[in-house]
């Protein structure tokens, strides 16, 4: 999960929004200066705490074969690393898993949450309990429960993409919280009744009236889901599937390929960071000109 620490930190700021950066009112100038100084110091210390290991990782990946020399060989080997399995294919699988997990999670959770809010509100507490339940289950326990199912699935010789079922469960609490916050900010009942009185059927109400007003919440849920999938190791490893994290682990056990391990880790981190930045930017673009 270390690979996703930086994007998650960025995400936290995105989720808390302007309130987190709002100037505290009622403080004298001297108090405000002291508070600002503390903020800068804390930000710098924690920034270095996270950044230094990452910089060390990048530096190590650029070391040559002899002490003091530099080389990009470890980076070029990301594409050509023979495996088994090839590193590039595990990156592909992880990205595909991120897309599938996000899509399934959204299709499953979003309409359900809106429907419960609009039509069966008495069920909302039960739904919340179900969605938050995976938080309380350790990954190893989850794997013990899932193993017999995946043993059956393996008979059909399916790929690691089948991990998405487990990942949807793992991402459920984070996605639920992000979507619940977005739904609470919308007067879903009034909007749905207005749309219904204008002739809209329920799918139109959900997908053309409510969902467009939850864009930021949906992007937040996506960010969290993608971050989780990009960093997930335990379930994939224990169920004997190969994704990027398990592949990196296998590479790390081979000392001569240590450079590739770190270049691949750094590349994954950079990729995740860029991906999350794009999603965050897309969210801001979509929100421009709207409330």
């Amino acid at each position: 999960m270390a690979a996703v620490n930086q994007p998650l930190g960025d995400l936290a700021a995105d989720l808390t929004g302007p309130a987190a950066t709002r100037r505290p009112s009622g403080l004298r100038a001297s108090q405000r200066r002291r508070l600002n100084t503390f903020r800068y110091v804390a930000f710098t210390v924690f920034g270095l705490f996270f950044l230094l290991p990452l910089l060390a990782m990048v530096r190590f990946s650029l070391e040559g074969t002899t002490p003091g020399s530099w080389s990009v060989a470890a980076w070029t080997q990301i594409v050509s690393y023979p495996g088994p399995p090839p590193l590039l294919s595990s990156i592909e699988i992880t990205l595909e898993l991120a897309v599938i997990t996000s899509a399934v999670m959204l299709l499953l959770v979003l309409p359900t949450m809106i429907w419960v809010q609009l039509r069966v509100q008495w069920f909302s507490r039960i739904l919340e309990f179900i969605c938050l339940l995976p938080l309380t289950i350790p990954a190893i326990v989850l794997v013990v429960g899932l193993a017999p199912i995946y043993n059956q699935i393996e008979r059909y010789n399916v790929s690691a993409l089948m991990l998405f079922w487990a990942y949807v469960i793992l991402a459920l609490p984070y996605a639920y919280r992000a979507l619940a916050a977005g739904l609470a900010a919308v007067d879903a009942r009034t909007l749905s009744e207005a749309a219904r009185s204008l002739g809209a059927r329920w799918p139109v109400v959900i997908f053309r009236v409510i969902v467009p007003n939850m864009v930021q919440a949906i992007l937040n849920a996506l960010l969290l889901t993608v971050a989780l999938v990009l960093g997930e190791f335990t379930v994939a490893y224990l169920l004997s599937y190969v994704n990027l994290q398990t592949n990196l682990f296998e590479i790390s056990r081979s000392s001569e390929n240590a450079g590739v391990l770190f270049s691949a880790s750094a590349a994954t981190l950079a990729f995740a960071f860029i991906l999350l930045m794009i999603l965050s930017y897309a969210g801001r673009r979509l929100r421009r000109g709207r409330p």
């Binding site: 909007l191 009744e193 207005a194 219904r196 009185s197 204008l198 002739g199 809209a200």
Partner: protein, 368 residues
């Protein structure tokens, strides 16, 4: 998107009658609507008035199809729509809360219902702009809801409701979130448009002034039942029950005695609204504007003489509270007349012989 309800052309459009019969609705042990019968004539505007929890909004929501009735039937233009879902009822509705879709511009909001009906883009745009012009907001078409004021948002909501040319217009306290001046302007605008379009309309409000000003008939509700349904002037001057008399405008409650077709209040005989009232002691409900005052420093003590204890400036009129010794009475006078009075002035009262409603209850006299 397939069309569920066609938009009628102006030529084919006619106002329809709305008939609700035996409507009942309960929420657990609470009876929100109790066997309600109400008929709205074609093109008529009825205002449902009453305190919170009286069932007026429930009536509107049942009519809109947003809730199901436990019993009773609803028909519009002779067609039974009791079991029809809300999106097929062909009713335009304006809500108390701002209900514009935040992600759409004003124009897109107004065009939403037309789009659902599969109306061509050009026609949709033209119709949306026409509706926005009708509510005098044509210049705001490309703004988002958060960029316009609350009053403008409610006008857009009205345009959106009318754009689909519904059979019935439902207004659920659309003015309650607005300030007094905007409320009065928009109230007049709603009435003008309703008359212009000629649409059958049900307007729910808890504001008696609003109801009396806008409606062809006012229905006063209490505990899920209609206490009175009558033109505004009748509801005010000939209230059917003591509840209506007290809810619609202020009333003085004075002890009196019924004999024959009159009630004697503080030595003055006044005609009864209900001439079948049984003889005996009653509480007479007298409007403040039926009471006039004359300053009389030398007035001797009597049943209709007293001392001014408070003056409330209301603009064109003022309310004067007079202590009669054993009770107080309020009078509503032109501010120019009230200017001659001050707290402590001795006054003589005259009660205009308007028909008076009596309350059967023999409760102690209230502050009203």
């Amino acid at each position: 998107m397939s069309s569920t309800i066609p938009v009628q052309s102006d030529a084919t459009r006619t106002a329809v009658e709305v008939r609700m019969q035996g409507l009942s609705r309960t929420y657990g042990a609470v009876v929100a609507l109790d066997n309600l019968d109400l008929t709205v004539q074609p093109g008529e505007l009825i205002a449902l008035l009453g305190p919170s929890g009286c069932g007026k909004t429930t009536t509107l929501r049942l009519l809109a199809g947003l809730e199901d009735a436990d019993a009773g039937t609803i028909s519009v233009g002779g067609r039974d729509i009791t079991r029809l879902s809300a999106n097929k009822r062909d009713m335009g509705m304006v809500f108390q809360a701002y209900s514009l879709f935040p992600h759409m511009t004003v124009r897109q909001n107004v065009a939403f219902g037309l789009r659902l009906r599969g109306i061509a883009s050009a026609t949709r745009d033209k119709r949306s702009l026409e509706m926005l012009e009708l509510v005098e907001l044509g210049s705001q078409a490309d703004r988002y809801p958060h960029q316009i004021s609350g009053g403008q948002q409610q006008r857009v909501a009205l345009a959106r409701a009318l754009a689909i040319e519904p059979q019935v217009l439902l207004l659920d306290e659309p003015l309650s979130a607005l300030d007094a001046k905007v409320r009065a302007q928009l109230r007049d605008q709603i009435r003008r448009i309703q008359l212009e379009v000629g649409i059958t309309t049900l307007f729910v409000t808890h504001d008696q002034e609003e109801a009396l000003a806008i409606a062809d008939r006012v229905g006063v509700m209490r505990n899920g039942r209609l206490e009175q349904l009558a033109p505004p002037a009748d509801v005010y001057s000939r209230p059917a029950t003591s509840f209506v008399a007290e809810f619609v405008g202020l009333s003085n409650r004075l002890e009196g005695t019924v004999s024959g077709t009159t009630v004697t209040v503080r030595g003055r005989d006044l005609p009864l609204v209900d001439t079948t009232t049984a003889p005996g002691p009653v509480i007479a409900l007298i409007r403040p504007e039926a009471v006039t005052l004359a300053s009389d420093a030398a007035a001797e003590s009597g049943p209709l003489t007293g001392t001014v204890i408070a003056l409330t400036f209301l603009g064109a009129t003022s309310r004067v509270t007079v202590d009669l010794g054993d009770t107080t009475i309020m009078a509503q006078l032109a501010t120019s007349d009230a200017a001659e009075l001050s707290a402590g002035s001795r006054v003589t009262l005259t009660i205009r012989p308007d028909p008076v409603l009596v309350s059967a209850e023999s409760a102690p006299l209230s502050e009203e």
